[in-house]
């Protein structure tokens, strides 16, 4: 575990201290603490999906000059709940000639890596499940499990559209993983650490000016394009292109199994947006450093109230940045046409990959030339 002395709320330490005050052993207190952040993050992820679905409906309606859902709750905020409930109550069908075991396992394998990746998303100095040292690398390696689930469900459906969709999805995520990893590598090189907390801390020096987006503009664009492709969002939703493949690997799925795919893709979108904000937009950092604000107001940064406000501002900033990016993704989905599969692979291999390599080389050179600005 990393030992940082930076100020900030440490809920884990205070919770365990409180429990030890009741006479519990440190190990038992830790055991009681462990499930709390996991459940909290799971709930946050699912609520994030509900918000996302509502935004998608409302923004798509606005783009197409419609009103969108408005009867289910105020402004239709309950519509995502209705969608979810509908999927829960639908009959769970396994096609007669399909491979039942793989058919069931496929969606699970798609969803689990995405949820596991939330392990490394920081909402504050100590507000993450685990500050694992390999941080962002864990996300990259976990997201490489997903294609197996897609291939599995595509194969098990025993349907040519499903198989083609699964193969396309796997090909797409393999091709876009490489420029994605190279863009992340450039950021990691600047912050000398794979840990997401360290990556954010390295961007907190001068508020908005020290965010990585100014130092890595090309990396930011590459990462965002690749993240959209990994999430299979338009303009890259080739695996489920309706005109060619019905619904790709999801064709034979219904009920909760389909809901798992649905949930997985939206959690992945929110996760990608959160990681973009962590890697390039300063994570939980306020555009003006909170330390400066506190000193202007003559408040000590260690005071409990100030720390509480700082923590809340951090969470709000992370979520705000992430949802701005989600808004961008939704707008892109409803305004751009789909690319062809050959264009998609050309873009990945012949354009993004060389650019990402050059970006990495230039970052390394700049790091050697200006160690003060590019993290020595």
């Amino acid at each position: 575990m990393l030992t940082t002395t930076a100020p900030g709320l440490d809920l884990e330490a205070s919770f365990e201290q409180a429990l030890q005050g009741f006479g519990l052993s440190p190990a038992a207190a830790h055991l009681l603490w462990l499930p709390l952040p996991m459940v909290l993050v799971l709930v946050a992820a699912v609520v994030g999906v509900l918000v996302n679905v509502w935004l998608e409906r409302k923004i798509s309606a606005a783009v197409q000059q419609r009103i969108g859902p408005e009867y289910a709750g105020a402004l239709g905020v309950l519509q995502p709940m209705a969608d979810g409930l509908k999927l829960v109550f639908k009959e769970d069908i396994i096609p007669a000639r399909a491979d039942g075991l793989l058919f069931t396992l496929g969606p699970v394998l798609v969803l689990i890596p995405v949820i596991l990746s939330w392990l490394v998303v920081p909402f504050g100095q100590h507000l993450l499940i685990s500050n694992v040292g390999i941080g962002i690398f864990l996300w990259i390696s976990l997201s490489s499990i997903q294609p197996i689930g897609l291939l599995m469900s595509g194969y098990a459906s025993n349907n040519k559209y499903s198989l083609l969709g699964g193969l396309r999805a796997a090909a797409q995520s393999i091709s876009y993983e490489i420029p994605l990893a190279l863009a992340v590598l450039a950021v990691v090189m600047m912050s000398n650490s794979l840990s997401t907390v360290d990556i954010v801390n390295q961007q907190t020096g001068a508020g908005i000016l020290s965010w990585n987006i100014w130092r890595q503009p090309v990396g930011f664009v590459i990462f965002w394009i690749c993240a959209l492709a990994e999430c299979e969002r338009l303009p890259f939703d080739l695996p489920e292109a309706e005109e060619e493949l019905v619904a790709g690997y999801q064709t034979e799925y219904s009920g909760m199994k389909f809901a798992l795919f649905y949930l997985g893709s939206y959690i992945n979108l929110v996760l990608s947006a959160l990681l973009v904000s962590v890697l390039y937009l300063g994570g939980w950092g306020f555009p003006i450093p909170v330390e400066w604000l506190a000193s202007w107001l003559h408040q000590p940064i260690d005071a409990p109230l100030v720390q509480l406000i700082t923590g809340s501002v951090g969470i709000v900033m992370t979520v705000l940045k992430a949802y701005l990016l989600v808004f961008l993704a939704i707008l892109l989905r409803w305004t751009t046409p789909r690319v062809r599969i050959d264009q998609l692979l050309d873009l990945g291999w012949k354009f993004l990959l060389p650019i990402a390599l050059v970006n990495l080389l230039i970052t390394a050179a700049l790091k050697l030339a200006f160690p003060a600005v590019f993290g020595g």
Binding site: A28, F137, I148
Partner: protein
């Protein structure tokens, strides 16, 4: 025993069980697709064992390389060939199975003997944990420099080979058949290699 060590023991037993059973399934199952998916499970449980040994970077690299690349490639290869194909009967299958079983059993006994006769230093060296990436980097650029560079040359060679195979039109004669290549018409005139025997 503390809670941590009990958890570790349970994880170790569960991971080892999935590892051994999965590996047996990879070899013994007649359906090649199941074998390929089980192989992914085996790789994942190996990564879990690395994690138990406090080598998180190696575990993540294992998942990225073996599950994300090798296993996906194997699955691609399986799914791109016709799945209804029955293999031709091999003469003397029973004898072959017996022989390969004997070879595997011999190897297993040899490994067991090595494991029991080697004087293991217990407890082993301290796990470096978070410092692992730095240590691996130092080793790669000092005493393991030659293997590292050789591996990169090997990868470059295979990359160039793949490009040559994929772009046969840049060569004057076909790599596989040795015939002269008509640059412009290659895609229209020649029937694709893989589709020769499949029904149209």
């Amino acid at each position: 025993m503390t809670i941590a060590s009990i958890t570790q023991l349970i994880c170790f037993v569960a991971l080892s069980a999935t590892l051994v059973l999965g590996a047996l399934g990879v070899v013994l199952l007649p359906n090649i697709v199941y074998s390929a998916f089980l192989l992914g499970g085996v790789f994942l449980s190996v990564a879990g064992l690395y994690l138990l040994l406090n080598a998180s970077f190696v575990a993540a690299a294992q998942v990225l390389v073996y599950v994300g690349a090798v296993n996906v490639l194997i699955l691609f290869a399986i799914m791109l060939v016709n799945k209804k194909e029955n293999l031709a009967a091999i003469p003397g299958l029973g004898l072959r199975r017996l022989l390969s079983g004997a070879v595997c059993g011999g190897l297993f006994l040899l490994l067991i003997r090595v494991a029991f006769t080697t004087p293991w230093a217990l407890p082993g060296p301290e796990a470096v944990g978070e410092e692992a990436t730095i240590r691996i980097g130092e080793h790669l650029f000092s005493d393991y420099l030659l293997p590292f560079e050789l591996a990169s040359v090997l990868l470059l060679m295979s990359m160039i080979g793949a490009i040559v195979l994929a772009r046969r039109d840049v060569l004057s004669s076909d790599v596989i058949t040795g015939e002269a290549v008509d640059q412009g018409l290659i895609e229209k005139e020649r029937t694709p290699l893989l589709l020769e025997n499949s029904p149209r």
